[in-house]
């Protein structure tokens, strides 16, 4: 509030300098409404920046997945991300946004389809601000969809993306988003709202659940399990690309969590950003410790998974917990992801660890709000976390109840997403097919699905450049040519 008055005073001074006659006539009410308009503009500018950061996460998923794939499946990851983002965009614009945000009932919205200017959505006329929020929502939907494909690398048919992306962008993600954020079912459970600040369950668990459904019908990569069913390592081809992907995702997360404040005016904005960083850092440390204890090496990929798990974990609680809780949440997520990846690997072939880093860490993040939620920050009607009953005087009945509500969100998300996803993937499997044939899988999806290698020159011999010297220097410019070149020079 103090800040607002400060800005108002500043604006008044500027107005007085520029337009003395008008300024003297301006009432306090006019100044206040102009400040309010500027505040909205500033907030929307931040949401625009945040939306761009969240879209940047597509590059993060791209590099992460390509790095964890073999060289023969590098190009397909690029095509996948681009096509999914494109389809998801149109599906969200036509149908998804209306279901998610268009008022309606407990289960789905009923306005805002084929989003257009001045449309009445949920009882209000759409303006530029609505468009910005609609775009921001799309960025989230696209992130959730990108998570789905982490388990399906190196063997899925490209057509499966097309069909599932339509269903996901139009129906699956919007239903979950509506339930939690769109005034639906989970906004009020016995008076308590589900608290999921930026989507540990809405975005990440949703994506991971779709990933599980796909994986169950798809099966493991050829050669992943030996004759006795023991898992074998199929290493990805580029740890630097994995690292680049992780860092891009990490940076994008500031838009993901930080943007979910929808504005810059509250102190919450800064708190969310700092919580995000603290948890990501603790996630790296948690995973590094766990993998070192398991294998006596600091595994590159696991350190990356730890960062992602920490970020996924803090996504739901980022706006509801105190700073001290953020590293705890991240650390637990980081420890969890290593043990989960190793346990899941025995049964299911998840090349990037999406089920662990997004699914289990997403569940942990959603529940952690019920453990660490601070009375100062929790939503209206919600109760603080169980921690404050153990170490404070909050009644257990209320805090356990909130934890239960958080658990219900996990259950709801899993059941809804799993049911629709498994049905969709079963449909795909029964019609166009879900998996490429053996020969295509062995050759790699780059050449078999896209007609080219991801690194197209790898089998093409390059002509030599005889002297090895830049043309500007010429062959006799006083730089001694290396001995072998001299010996093979023609007369």
């Amino acid at each position: 509030m103090r800040k607002k008055i400060g800005v108002a005073a500043l604006l008044a001074v500027f107005a007085a300098l520029l337009l003395p006659t008008v300024a003297s006539a301006a009432t306090l009410g006019e100044v206040a409404s102009s400040v309010e308009a500027k505040t909205t503009e500033l907030n929307m500018t931040w949401v625009a920046v945040a939306a761009a950061l969240v879209f940047l996460m597509q590059a993060g998923f791209m590099f992460l997945e390509i790095g964890f794939s073999r060289q023969k499946n590098a190009g397909t990851g690029v095509a996948k991300v681009l096509v999914n983002l494109a389809i998801c965009t149109l599906a969200w614009w036509a149908i998804g946004y209306g279901i998610a945000e268009g008022g309606g009932n407990d289960f789905f919205g009923d306005s805002g389809f084929f989003f257009h200017f001045d449309q009445v959505i949920g009882g209000e006329a759409a303006n530029g601000e609505t468009a910005m929020l609609m775009l921001y929502g799309l960025a989230f939907c696209a992130v959730s969809l990108a998570i789905v494909w982490g388990t399906t690398l190196e063997r899925i048919k490209f057509g499966a993306y097309v069909v599932y992306a339509v269903v996901f962008g139009a129906v699956i993600y919007p239903l979950v988003a509506h339930a939690v954020w769109g005034g639906g079912l989970l906004g009020d459970i016995g008076g308590k709202p589900v608290m999921d600040f930026a989507g540990s369950s809405v975005v990440h668990l949703t994506g991971a659940t779709g990933a599980l459904a796909a994986l169950l019908l798809l099966g493991p990569r050829k050669g992943k399990y030996d004759a006795n069913g023991k898992p074998r390592v199929i290493p990805g081809h580029s740890m630097p690309l994995v690292g680049l992907g992780v860092i891009i995702l990490w940076i994008g997360w500031f838009g993901f969590n930080g943007g979910s404040t929808f504005g810059t005016e509250e102190v919450l904005f800064g708190e969310v950003m700092l919580n995000t960083q603290l948890a990501a850092a603790a996630g790296v440390i948690g995973a590094s410790i766990a993998v070192y204890l398991k294998s006596r090496t600091l595994d590159v990929g696991m350190a990356g998974n730890g960062a992602i798990a920490g970020l996924v974990g803090i996504t739901a609680p980022s706006g509801f917990v105190e700073y001290w809780a953020a590293p705890i949440i991240g650390l637990v997520a980081g420890l969890l992801v290593v043990y989960a990846v190793l346990a899941i690997d025995k049964l299911l072939d998840d090349p990037v660890g999406a089920l662990s880093a997004h699914g289990l860490a997403g569940i942990w993040g959603t529940l952690s709000v019920g453990i660490f939620g601070s009375a100062r920050l929790v939503s209206e009607g919600a109760s603080p976390g169980v921690w404050y009953s153990v170490f404070g005087d909050e009644p257990f009945s209320a805090t356990i109840g909130q934890l239960g509500v958080q658990g219900l969100a996990v259950l709801f998300t899993f059941v809804v997403v799993f049911a629709i996803s498994i049905a969709t993937f079963a449909f795909i499997k029964g019609t166009i097919g879900l998996r490429v044939d053996d020969a295509e899988e062995e050759a790699g999806l780059d050449i078999s699905s896209h007609g080219m290698y991801g690194y197209p020159e790898q089998f093409i011999p390059q002509p030599e450049y005889s002297t090895g010297l830049p043309s500007g220097l010429g062959s006799g410019a006083g730089v001694a040519a290396p001995a072998p070149a001299q010996m093979t020079a023609t007369e």
């Binding site: 390592v233 993998v291 696991m302 990846v341 690997d345 020079a489």
Partner: protein, 122 residues
Amino acid sequence: MKKIEAFIRHEAFEPIRAELLDKGFPSLSISEAKGSGRQKGIVERYRGSTLTVNVRPKLKLEVVVEDKDKPLVVETILKHARTGEVGDGKIFVLPVEEAIRIRTGEGGEEVLQAHSEEEVTA
């Protein structure tokens, strides 16, 4: 004519090349090879699990010389490639029927000779 084919450690190549050049044998080829022998494979750790790669990277060095030069080349390779540890590699000597210089089409042992000083400086 003999072809000397040696599987060596990567770090052994440069001293061998330098000495062969010095002694008048500039012509040689190398290629990256992967092989197994008494040396065990490499155990990698990836995402908390172990992966054994059963072959190791080596360089394959090929030199074709006149019969009389064979001992000199073999000695040079032995001198620089031997560390005394398992994994130093092996040398094979094979008979060669013909050698033809592509640029001129000429054949015979003289195509294996180093260029004369005048040719090099020309």
